[in-house]
């Protein structure tokens, strides 16, 4: 009996290892339980859908793709365990994690094990910009990307030389404004003539508008939300200040159009790109609906894109070797639901995320 069992165990383990060599292992980590599960499950399902399709088409490099799914509950301390588990299970690449904090905690472990990691949702800028994690990629725009986009637009498309930057003193608005300031200074193409915070809810901003005018600012970059932006654009119009108004996705809201009315015309703002024109996006959503009968939810498209990008890189690299795969991620374009993307030296996706919009005839119009 004992002999039989041990033989059986031996056989099983042999088949397991034998089988393992014949699959490509895609780790998926994120919150699949707990209150943050709605952010993790769509990406997990996206990976399942992609893998199902890939396997049905004969797999990658002649091998089937195997999913290793681990729950990290978005908690950094669990994420490190999750990462260790995925490493010991032999994951070749990892899709995850979802929350920036958990991602950061887990990244070191993957780095030591030389595993490429791609998050569909961690937007914290230092994850890529610090340069600490050469194994990290993401298919979502980082928080500073909007500011970069706004500044590039002002400098290159509008060609302004003097920029005033205002913010609402809040985390989001001030963060945006500070990144904008940094990018303008780094470019050396324009001068920042004003950098100040305004009080949200104040009755009027005429003093600050006068300052914008007196400093001859050609553009006003504002970090904050639409109620203050509406007041700013109306007062700009009233004081006949010609400065172009450029803002963030907190302003790209229908309320801005309604409240600011005609004063909103010609204002610029960054906002999430319109995905509906991308054919693969419609396909992925239809696939999800057919499988689960509901709308996909947050980070589904980004998760789908990440799974495609990772598997495509392995395919193009011809192996699961770390250097070959990361090199392929940085050089090979791939069609995904968030657009045709590849990754820059730091790991941020090029061609993803935000577009610049303008207000024309009371509507947001995406600028190319």
């Amino acid at each position: 009996m004992t002999v039989l069992l041990s033989t059986l165990a031996l056989l099983l383990s042999m088949t397991a290892t034998g089988f393992a060599a014949d699959t490509i292992k895609l780790g998926v980590a994120g919150p699949h339980s707990g209150d943050l599960a709605p952010y993790g499950i769509p990406a997990m399902r996206a990976a399942q859908l992609v893998v199902k399709q890939v396997n049905a088409n004969g797999g990658i490099l002649g091998k089937q793709v195997e999913l290793l799914i681990q729950d990290d509950q978005c908690k950094p301390e669990i994420a490190t365990n999750t990462a260790t588990k995925l490493v010991t299970d032999g994951a070749n690449v990892v899709l995850g994690h979802i929350c920036s904090g958990a991602t950061k905690a887990a990244l070191g472990i993957y780095k030591d094990a030389k595993i490429p990691v791609m998050s569909p949702s961690a937007t914290n800028p230092p994850l890529t910009q610090s340069g600490d994690y050469p194994n990290f990629f993401r298919t979502i725009a980082s928080d500073d990307m909007q500011a970069k986009m706004a500044v590039d637009f002002a400098l290159n498309k509008l060609g302004v030389k003097k920029i005033a930057i205002l913010h609402d003193k809040g985390d989001y608005g001030k963060g945006f404004a500070e990144f904008a300031k940094k990018f303008v200074e780094e470019s050396g193409k324009a001068e920042i003539v004003l950098f100040e915070g305004i009080t949200p809810g104040a009755m009027d901003y005429s003093s600050i508008i006068q300052k914008v005018r007196r400093n001859d600012a050609e553009a006003l970059i504002f970090g904050g939300y639409h109620p203050e932006a509406s007041k700013l654009v109306s007062q700009l119009a009233r004081k006949r200040v010609k400065a172009a108004f450029i803002s963030d996705d907190g302003v790209k809201d229908d309320s801005f159009l309604k409240v600011a009315g005609s004063a909103a015309e010609g204002a610029y703002m960054t906002g999430p790109r319109d995905l509906s024109k991308i054919p693969l996006n419609a396909e992925a959503v239809a696939q999800f609906k057919a499988e689960y009968g509901s709308e996909p939810g947050a980070f589904f498209q980004e998760g789908y894109a990440a799974a495609l990008a990772l598997l495509n890189a392995i395919q193009k690299a011809g192996s699961t070797d770390y250097d070959a795969v990361t090199n392929a991620l940085r050089t090979q374009y791939v069609e995904t639901p968030v657009g045709k993307i590849k990754f820059d030296a730091k790991g941020d996706a090029e061609g993803v995320g935000f577009s610049v919009y303008t207000v024309k005839n009371g509507k947001f119009v995406e600028l190319q």
């Binding site: 809810g201 600050i208 109306s234």
Partner: protein, 300 residues
């Protein structure tokens, strides 16, 4: 120099609105020694009523100034009714209670009214039609002063003159002054104190509503929360000028407006509030009763 003028008129516009609202605080305090913390919400309700009236008027094809006047009148009536009811249900039953009770009741009413409008209307910012017609002034003037600012200044000035006449020249005004001096004595000489107190609330609310309509059409948006900041600023203005004093409220409002405008203009708008509230603390240390306030001895 023109920059100074810009800031001066900006501060004057702001300050006159603060003064308009501050009058409600100061009048109520002068008579029953109560800080009516729900006063900012009356201002907000005035703006909302005007929004609704303006919406209805637009459907019937009225336009511009006629809507502004009509919306203003309805807002004043509505807000006055709110002020009257507020006093009746939240403060009158507590008139003989310790001073803290009506104060807490006032804070309660403030939160209640905010949430009531939040639920009855919407938490979103709503566009308010710009009812004050815009005239194109000549170039240098246009930067300094626009027609909306002018309308605000003139309306405030006229309202304040009317209020002063009411208090100084009429029988009602005399009764109000008598009640302010000594409530029991006034009652003994035949003044209907309850009616005078109600009237004070009605007048204060009407002024707040006028402020609400002017500000809403000036900045073009309303929201259930706008009363909070306006209330805090106006309360500060009233304390700065000397709470209980009518001319003090006006002076306090203007000083506050100018302080904010010049602080934002010459220093940085980052420190707008730091500067104004710093000024408040400073004045209260130097003159605890406010600029024009009389330091009254505690009644025994």
């Amino acid at each position: 120099m023109d920059y100074f003028l810009e800031l001066f008129f900006g501060g004057l516009t702001r300050g006159s609105i603060y003064a308009l609202i501050a009058l409600g605080y100061t009048m109520v305090y002068g008579i029953i020694q109560l800080i009516n913390f729900a006063h900012g919400e009356i201002y907000m309700i005035g703006a909302f009523v005007a929004l609704i009236v303006a919406g209805v008027c637009t459907i019937y094809g009225l336009s511009g100034v006629s809507i502004l006047i009509l919306a203003g009148i309805v807002a004043v009536i509505y807000a006055s009714a709110y002020g009257y009811t507020l006093e009746k249900i939240a403060y009158r039953p507590l008139r003989d209670a310790p001073r803290l009770s009506p104060l807490i009741s006032a804070i309660g009413m403030s939160i209640f009214l905010q949430n009531y409008v939040l639920l009855a209307q919407t938490p979103d910012f709503l566009p308010f039609p710009r009812l004050i017609p815009e005239f194109a002034f000549m170039e240098p003037v246009a930067y300094i002063l626009g027609s909306p600012e002018l309308v605000i200044l003139v309306t405030t000035l006229v309202t304040m003159i009317l209020l002063t006449l009411l208090i100084k020249k009429t029988k009602i005004g005399k009764a109000m002054r008598a009640t302010q001096q000594d409530m029991n004595m006034a009652r003994l000489v035949g003044v209907s104190v309850d009616r005078i107190i109600s009237l004070t609330f009605v007048i204060g609310s009407a002024l707040a509503a006028i402020g609400g309509v002017l500000v809403a059409s000036y900045i073009g948006q309303v929201n259930f929360y706008i009363g909070f900041l306006a209330g805090v600023k106006a309360f500060t203005a009233a304390v700065l000028g000397g709470i209980g004093s009518i001319s003090g409220a006006v002076l306090g409002g203007l000083i506050l407006g100018w302080a904010e405008s010049f602080a934002a203009g010459y220093i940085s708008s980052d420190y707008e509030d730091v500067f104004t509230f710093g000024l408040l603390v400073l004045i209260l240390i130097l003159r605890p009763s406010g600029i024009l306030g009389k330091s009254t001895k505690q009644k025994v």
